[in-house]
C-alpha cells in the first residue's frame, strides 16, 4: 500500500530524516515508534507532501498503491490527500479551523473529492460522527471547535480523515495531547475502525503499550532512521538493535514488564545530525559501540520481515 525507501528530509544544516524506509501493507497497522525529536512527524509530513517551506525532501521511492508520489504535482497529490490518504495530527486543539463549524469542515472535504449535494455530505458527516463515537451528532455538527473538548476534537479529526473512505490513514500521535482518561478510548476507536474498514494504518506513537495492543508491524526510529522493523510479536520477543532493547527495557509495557526488574533508561539524548552524517546515529549512547560503528552500517535481516540496522549479529 505504502512503500517508502531512502527518505531524507533536511532543514538547512540538520537532517531530521536520514534515509527512512518503511512499508505499510493493505489492511495492516504499522506503528512507528521512537523518542521525541527522532523525526516521526517529519516522516509522516514528508510522505503527505505537507512539509513546511524550507524543508528539503529527497527519496529513492515513495509509492502509494502503485502511484509514484515523488512524481506527482502538488495538484495531483491534492487529489490523494483527504480522499485516499487521511491524516490525523498530534495537535487536536489547533488542527480545526476556529472560524468554521464542524459540519462545514467535514462536508467540504467530501464535496471536494466526491462532489454531490450539501445534504448528502451532511448526512455522511452525521453518520461518521456517530461512527467515531460522538453522541448527538446533529448538535455537534452545528458547533464550532472551541465548543468541543480535546477528545471530541480529535474524534472530529478522525471522522474528517475518514469522510472519503481512505485506503491509508496516517495518525501522528493522536492521543499525546489528550487527557489520559480519553487516550484509551481514542486508540480503541482507531483500532476498531482500522479492522472494520480494512484500513492501512500508519500509527505514530511513543507508547509501547499501544504498540503491543494494536500493531501488526513495528518500525523503531532513532535519529532520523528506522533502526529496526519487525512484526510486533518478534519485536517484543527478540528485540535486536541495542536501541530497541533499551527502549523495551525503559518503558513499562503492560504484561511484558517482569516484576522487580528495574527500569533501565538509556543514558543521553537523540543527537541532531548533519546531512553528511555516516555510521550509526546511536553509537554515542550504545553499550556495544565499536570503531566499525563510525562507518556505514549494514541492514541485516534476522527473519522474514524482521530487519535491523547494526554491526552486531544476534
Amino acid at each position: 500500500m505504502l512503500d517508502v525507501a531512502g527518505l531524507r528530509v533536511s532543514f538547512g544544516a540538520i537532517e531530521a530524516v536520514h534515509g527512512v524506509s518503511l512499508r505499510v501493507r493493505h489492511g495492516e497497522t504499522h506503528c512507528l515508534v521512537g523518542e521525541s525529536g527522532c523525526g516521526k512527524s517529519v516522516t509522516a509530513l514528508a510522505i503527505m507532501g505537507l512539509l513546511a517551506r524550507g524543508a528539503r525532501r529527497r527519496a529513492e521511492r515513495i509509492g502509494f498503491d502503485g502511484t509514484d508520489l515523488l512524481a506527482l504535482s502538488d495538484r495531483g497529490m491534492g487529489r490523494l490527500r483527504g480522499s485516499r490518504i487521511g491524516m490525523i495530527f498530534q495537535e487536536p486543539m489547533t488542527s480545526l479551523n476556529p472560524a468554521y463549524t464542524v459540519s462545514s469542515q467535514l462536508t467540504e472535504v467530501y464535496r471536494r473529492h466526491r462532489g454531490g449535494t450539501r445534504a448528502a455530505a451532511t448526512e455522511r458527516a452525521a453518520a461518521l460522527l456517530g461512527r467515531v463515537g460522538i453522541s448527538a451528532p446533529g448538535l455537534r455538527l452545528g458547533q464550532f471547535p472551541h465548543q468541543l473538548s480535546g477528545g471530541l476534537r480529535q474524534r472530529v479529526m478522525i471522522a474528517m480523515a475518514l469522510m472519503c473512505d481512505p485506503d491509508l490513514l496516517i495518525a501522528d500521535e493522536p492521543t499525546t495531547a489528550l487527557d489520559v482518561t480519553v487516550q484509551a478510548g481514542i486508540l480503541r476507536l482507531l483500532a476498531a475502525l482500522q479492522a472494520e474498514m480494512g484500513l492501512a494504518l500508519l500509527l505514530i506513537t511513543h507508547d509501547l503499550g499501544v504498540v503491543a495492543r494494536v500493531a501488526h508491524q513495528v518500525s523503531v526510529m532513532y535519529a532520523g532512521e528506522v533502526v529496526e522493523s519487525a512484526p510486533v510479536a518478534a519485536l517484543f520477543a527478540r528485540p535486536t538493535h541495542p536501541y530497541t532493547q533499551g527502549l523495551l527495557a525503559s518503558v513499562p509495557v503492560p504484561g511484558k514488564l517482569r516484576r522487580g526488574q528495574p527500569l533501565d533508561p538509556i543514558p543521553g539524548s537523540v543527537p541532531r545530525i548533519p546531512p553528511d552524517f555516516v555510521g550509526c546515529g546511536f553509537r554515542e549512547r550504545c553499550r556495544f559501540a565499536m570503531p566499525a560503528c563510525a562507518v556505514a552500517v549494514p541492514l541485516r535481516e534476522r527473519a522474514p520481515g524482521h530487519s535491523y540496522l547494526c554491526q552486531l549479529t544476534p
Partner: protein, 305 residues
Amino acid sequence: MRRFILRRAILGVLVCMTVLVISFGLTRVAGDPALAVAGPQATAADVAAIRRAYGLDRPLPEQFFTWVGAVARGDLGRSYLFREPVANLIRARLPITLTLGLVGLGFALLIALPLGIVAALHEGTPTDRLVMLVALLGQAMPSFWLALLLIIGLGLRLQWLPISGIDDWTGYLLPGLVLAFSAIPALMRLTRSGMIDALGSDYIRTARAKGLSRASIVLKHAARNAAMPVVAIAAVQLGFMLGGSIVIESVFSLPGLGFLAWESISKNDFPVVQAVVLLLAVIYIALTLFADLLNAALDPRLRTG
C-alpha cells in the same frame, strides 16, 4: 457580549462629552466670533449687538451648557455665514463625505488586501519586499502631493477622470484614490501579518491534508481568520478618512463636510465648526463599535463565548 456593548457605549458617551468640551473650547480661543460675524466695517455697537444675539455675552460655562442642552435636544444652532440651521447644512453635505469615505475605503481594500495576501504568500522573497516597499513609499507620500500628481496625470494629461466637483459618480474616483492611499499601508501590513500567522497554523496544515484547492486554503481558511484585525483597522481608517476629507475635499472642490468645515473654520463660523467636530467624533465612535460587532460576527469564539 451585551456587557461588552454596554461598556463600549458608556465609553463612547464619555468620549463625546470630552469632544463637546474641546470643540467648544477651540472655537472660543480661536478669536472672538462676534468680530468675525460682524465683519471689518462694524462699529462697536454692532459687535455688542451681535454678541447679545448669539449669547456670546454670557459667561463661558453658561454658553457651554446652553449649547450642550440644545445639542441634546437635537438643535445644532444656526450658521451665521450661510444663515441656515446647521442641521440643514450637515444634511446636505454629509452624504457627499460619506460617499467619498466609502469610495476611499473601497479603493484601499481593493488594493491593500490582494497585495497583503500576495506578500504573505511570498513571505521573505523579493516579491514580498517589493510589495512592502511600495507600501512604505505610499506612506511617505503626502496626500496633497499625491493629489496633484493624480490630477496632472489622470486628469489633465490623460483626461480620464474629472479633477474637480461631482457632476456624476466619476468625480469621486480621483479624491477617493488619494484618500485610499493613506489607509493602504496599515491595511496591507495587517493583512500580510495576519495571513502569515494564519498560513503557518495547524488548521491550514489540516486544510492541505484534506486536499483542498489552493484558493480555498488561502481565501477561505486563512483569510477568514486573518480578517478580524483588518476589519477593526479598516473601520478606524474610515474614521481617519472622514476626518482627512478636509484636505481632499478642498483640493478637489467637493462640497462635503470637510469643505464645510474648512469654510467655517476660516470664517470662524463657530456653530458649524462645533457641530462638525462633534459629528465626526460620533461617527468615529460608532465606527469602532461597529467594527467590534463585525468582529464578533466573524469570530465564533466571541459570538458564542
